[in-house]
């Protein structure tokens, strides 16, 4: 890696100051994506601003009808959260299925959604759960947060501080892992709310997306069979050595049905 300055702010104000000091400053949460890119000399930041010492950024809390997850909550903490185990086990299970124990001990929900890797698991959850993404300056609905491949509405110096999730009646995530990386080749998160159903897909396209046809069908009848006749178009889906677009389109159908079935 190239040389860089290292800042370890104690709070968000200091973090913002460190970030605005240089155009090449970069935030670091768990470092699970950032550090490998530094090692491969793919990035050359002037300052790495480590959020690791900012207090109270990793809590999972109940706020009225919502659950608030701090941006620095690690995948391991989300997976083990008693609150989520009770109110939203699908999210805990999703976090427990990310990477390996080392990655889960360091990687964070904030880092994952800020990074917007097309194969990351969390984007499917936050979109299907209609989450609000709270930053140091505004709140954005998940639907409009993800813009494309590794692209979000975040400004260069904007800091995700928490994610607010409305608790659904039922939810489940079905992941088809890439055989090599075990990121999502296709991941489908299904959430059933009182008056609507949301279905979000990760891994299959350049960015997370919803499936309105499936949502409508499931709003009518929340059963796997309701999805059987809904064909997913391979247009604009990713193709690589592990899965061409048509196979991914097929897997979306299979994973969606499995997620609905898992909702019980």
């Amino acid at each position: 890696m190239y040389d860089f300055q290292y800042a370890r702010p104690a709070n968000i104000v200091e973090a913002r100051a460190a970030l605005s000091g240089s155009n090449e400053a970069v935030l670091m949460a768990g470092g699970q994506t950032l550090i490998p890119t530094l090692k491969q000399r793919l990035r050359k930041p002037s300052v790495v601003v480590d959020l690791g010492s900012v207090r109270n950024l990793g809590e999972v809390q109940i706020m009225k009808d919502k659950i608030m997850i701090g941006a620095m909550a690690t995948h391991a903490n989300v997976a083990a959260s008693p609150i989520l185990a009770k109110r939203l086990p699908a999210l805990a299970a999703l976090a427990g299925g990310i990477g390996d124990p080392h990655v889960r001990a360091r990687g964070t929900i904030g880092g994952s959604i800020a990074n917007a890797d097309p194969a990351a698991d969390y984007p499917a959850a936050v979109v299907a759960l209609n989450a609000d993404i709270v930053t140091d300056r505004r709140t954005t609905a998940a639907d409009s947060f993800f813009k494309g491949l590794f692209e979000t509405t975040l400004a260069r110096d904007e800091i995700v501080t928490s994610i607010h999730i409305k608790v659904p009646e039922k939810a489940a995530y079905a992941k088809f892992p890439n055989p090599a990386s075990r990121f999502a080749l296709v991941g489908v998160f299904v959430a059933k709310f009182k008056d609507n159903v949301r279905v979000a897909v990760t891994g299959a396209g350049p960015s997370v997306f919803r499936l309105p046809d499936m949502e409508k069908a499931l709003a009518q009848s929340f059963t796997p069979d309701a999805l059987v006749d809904i064909a997913v178009s391979p247009d604009r889906l990713n193709s690589d050595i592990h899965a061409a677009a048509d196979y991914r389109a097929h897997l979306i159908g299979v994973m969606a049905r499995r997620a609905v079935a898992a909702c019980g």
């Binding site: 055989p179 090599a180 050595i241 592990h242 899965a243 196979y247």
Partner: protein, 792 residues
């Protein structure tokens, strides 16, 4: 000698003594070694699969901070190319094409990762920084990636090989094979590929060159499977420096699987540069570089035809293979698809007529060489796949079709039509054991039960035979080997009776420090913990050919047995002197030298001490000291064999294959340490199942490696594997030509398992009409096979 079974002798599952240091982080791998004033090398590698180098400008790099040297091919004019150790002749008698493999690219780069410039600096980071300042102007040339295209008119990669063919080799009786195929009742024909693999040793390659300007001695610390071979190849061919001025040290090595047999450019470069700079130079590969520079494995394309008569007896086998060599000939690349592949085509069967033709092809990809099994997995895969196809096409039970065609125990020694003579074997016994362990009879019920859950269940069988412990130097020499294939061992009995054993075999995970100590403890009656095994240093071990091809115990262990016999013979002389009897009257058993028929005796320690305190030796007839060396050159290969049965479930909705059950029955002859043997089989099975389901080096049309990291190269992990049911046969057929009766077990798992897995998958899909699936059987591949069967 007679033996009391002991807790640490032959046949005991002694825990591996080396693991104490490995699991506590006290191993001494090459990267753990740091020498005073050490500098660091970084290699700038080609980003192109094929290009002409127009200019290289190193000026800025040379003046960058911390840089001590920047090396290009021009600086290496006095060095030779990296040699190939085996000369193969084409069927027309012409020698193989052997284009130069320079240490650094000379005017042309031929694969992505081909080293072009070495930058040496005070730190790794400085070397990398400076490498970014090197300006290379490339003129891209069309890349030749596909083997079929390479041999049909593509522009040559090397001037010396105008059609991109290294050799066109043949073995067997082509006319008899053609006739038998023409007259056959049934011919099963299959086009298949053996997928290219990256070796992925946990420890990446690492080298340190050092030079003593006072003595003129070079030392190379290297992560290698065969330090003496490296000394020979690097000294004689590249550096043109005699052996006595080169020491090669290869201590703890974290896995090789073949990839650390070869002499690599980086070894020669750090050795040369250390002498130029008069300071040590270290290079440690990172994982990305390993994907681009460690010799890869397999990569064959084959058409195989198996002829059967009306009873199902095999009458002929015709094999035509394209074998990928990559961009240059790696050290043993040429022998893998020929004498380690073509000679195995009889498999476990009595097929009377065989014709095997292999064309070795240059492409703009990383060089290909031996990888666990080396040629034998490729042979076994095509034989065992085409047998299953024949069974499927003629409605025969694949187990019974194999049984019908097995070489019977009474037929040994068995001369195959492809040069080898198998000494011993009992294939039917391992078949029966594997089928029993797998509950072959109960399969139909399990299949029905899986069907009720929407899953497709399949069972697959594979027999394998391998030729291990390579093998008589005279045969190897006649077939083109440029080295001998024997092993050397020295036993040094120390004055207090402890024993230091120097072996030319090399342990990089196999557990020799345990197995060999068991052997010596057994032969000399010395306590196990009084024996140290030393390997991996040309300054401490007289000579050695190293470890590969499951040869350590069969060849290296046999050398130690012979050395132990010499120790006993010398010990008898000393004991006779001490006991004042004649040498013929002394017997040796379990560490005691005894006058026959009396209770007069001397123990091993007393004799050892006397050997070094020869106060009243008759020096004309009795030399002091107790140290013996033996070189052992085997009379033949050894032929381990066995049968594997794999059971899978396929999810037809996704194409995902789960290995539900895997049963192995192996015949390795005599076994020294059953636990270590079982571990070797487990490791081999994991790699073989990895090849069958997951692993694949994929290049795009421009020769870029798509699977250059673990994001895309799929390694087997614990949850890809079932709990193995591994056993060795209850009717072993020991090797009859080595003193231990051992056959070798290191590669069997990787050889027998890929066809067992694929046969099981094809069996699961057979009802749909699927007849073949290429490796790796990834979910997408399997799903597509199901789709096209359903639509087709």
């Amino acid at each position: 000698m007679t033996h009391q079974p002991s807790a640490t002798g032959i046949g005991a599952s002694v825990k591996r003594v080396e693991d104490l240091r490995f699991i506590r982080g006290r191993g001494r791998y090459t990267d753990d070694i740091n020498l005073p004033r050490q500098a660091y090398a970084h290699f700038l590698r080609s980003p192109h699969a094929h290009a002409r180098i127009k200019t290289i400008n190193t000026e800025k790099a040379k003046s960058a901070s911390g840089v001590v040297m920047v090396v290009t091919a021009v600086d290496l004019a006095k060095l030779g190319g990296l040699p190939c150790g085996w000369l193969i002749h084409s069927r027309d008698g012409s020698p193989m094409k052997e284009p130069k493999h320079p240490v650094l690219a000379e005017g042309t780069v031929r694969h992505v990762g081909d080293p072009v410039v070495a930058v040496i600096a005070e730190t790794v980071a400085q070397a990398r920084d400076a490498a970014e300042l090197v300006e290379i102007d490339y003129e891209a040339l069309p890349a030749v990636v596909d083997m079929a295209a390479a041999v049909s008119g593509a522009a040559p990669i090397h001037e010396a090989a105008p059609e991109n063919v290294c050799y066109d080799w043949h073995l067997g009786d082509e006319a008899a094979t053609d006739t038998a195929i023409a007259q056959a009742t049934h011919v099963a024909t299959l086009d298949l590929a053996n997928n290219r693999l990256a070796p992925n040793a946990i420890e990446p390659r690492c080298y340190i060159g050092d030079f003593n300007s006072a003595t003129g001695e070079h030392t190379l610390y290297t992560s290698s499977q065969n330090p003496h071979v490296i000394r020979l190849l690097m000294g004689a061919f590249v550096m043109q420096t005699p052996e006595h001025k080169i020491r090669v040290v290869s201590q703890d090595v974290g896995g090789g699987f073949g990839s650390k047999i070869y002499h690599y450019a980086e070894e020669a470069l750090v050795t040369w540069a250390a002498a130029q700079l008069n300071r040590p130079v270290k290079w440690t590969s990172d994982r990305s570089e390993a994907f681009l520079s460690d010799a890869q494995g397999r990569d064959h394309k084959t058409r195989v035809e198996l002829a059967l008569d009306k009873d199902g007896k095999f009458t002929a086998l015709r094999v035509r293979t394209l074998a990928n060599m990559g961009a240059y000939l790696s050290t043993f690349a040429s022998v893998i698809p020929t004498y380690l592949h073509g000679t195995l085509m009889a498999g476990n069967y009595t097929t009377p007529a065989i014709s095997v033709g292999v064309k070795a092809v240059f492409t703009n990809t990383v060089p290909v060489d031996a990888y666990r099994g080396a040629g034998r997995p490729e042979a076994t895969f095509l034989i065992e796949r085409v047998i299953d196809l024949a069974a499927q096409e003629t409605n025969r039970d694949p187990a019974e079709l194999r049984r019908l065609n097995y070489i019977k125990p009474s037929q040994f020694p068995y001369q195959t039509p492809v040069a080898l003579t198998y000494d011993t074997g009992n294939y039917e016994r391992t078949l029966d054991m594997a089928l029993a362990a797998a509950d072959y009879k109960g399969f139909a019920a399990r299949k029905a039960e899986a069907g009720s859950r929407g899953k497709l269940r399949g069972i697959g069988i594979a027999s394998y035979i391998e030729a291990c412990g390579i093998a008589p130097s005279n045969v190897a020499g006649a077939l083109g080997a440029r080295a001998g294939l024997y092993e050397c061992g020295t036993i040094r009995v120390n004055p207090t009776g402890s024993v230091t054993v120097m072996t030319g075999s090399h342990s990089h995970g196999q557990g020799h420090e345990t197995t060999f100590a068991q052997l010596i403890s057994d032969k000399l009656g010395v306590p196990f913990d009084q024996i140290d095994i030393v390997h991996g240093d040309t300054a401490r071990i007289p000579f050695g050919m190293g470890t590969y091809g499951s040869r350590s115990l069969a060849v290296g262990g046999s050398a130690l047995v012979n050395a132990a016999e010499k120790i006993v013979a010398k010990g008898k002389k000393i004991a006779a002197h001490m006991l004042e009897v004649s040498e013929e009257d002394v017997e040796f058993d379990a560490g005691i030298f005894k006058v026959a028929g009396t209770d007069r005796q001397k123990n091993f320690g007393e004799v050892a001490f006397q050997a070094y305190v020869p106060h009243n030796f008759p020096l004309e007839t009795l030399e002091p000291g107790l140290e013996e060396t033996a070189f052992y050159d085997p009379k033949n290969f050894t032929y381990p064999a066995g049968v594997y049965v794999c059971e899978v479930e396929v999810d037809p909705d996704t194409g995902v294959v789960r290995v539900e059950k895997f049963c192995a029955a192996d015949d390795f002859g005599k076994i020294i340490n059953p636990m270590i043997v079982e571990g070797q089989v487990h490791g081999g099975l994991a790699q073989g199942i990895g090849q069958a389901l997951l692993e694949h080096c994929v290049y795009d049309g421009d020769g870029q490696l798509i699977t250059g990291s673990y994001m895309d190269y799929a390694m087997p992990r614990a949850d890809n594997l079932p709990t193995f049911q591994v056993e060795t046969t209850d009717q072993p057929t020991p090797c009859i030509h080595n003193p231990l009766g051992v056959k070798g077990c290191g590669e069997a798992g990787a050889i027998g398992s890929p066809p067992a897995v694929i046969n099981a998958i094809v069996n699961a899909l057979a009802d749909l009409g699927v007849t073949h699936i290429d490796m790796p059987a990834t979910p997408q591949t399997v799903w597509r096979a199901i789709q096209s069967a359903r639509n087709g």
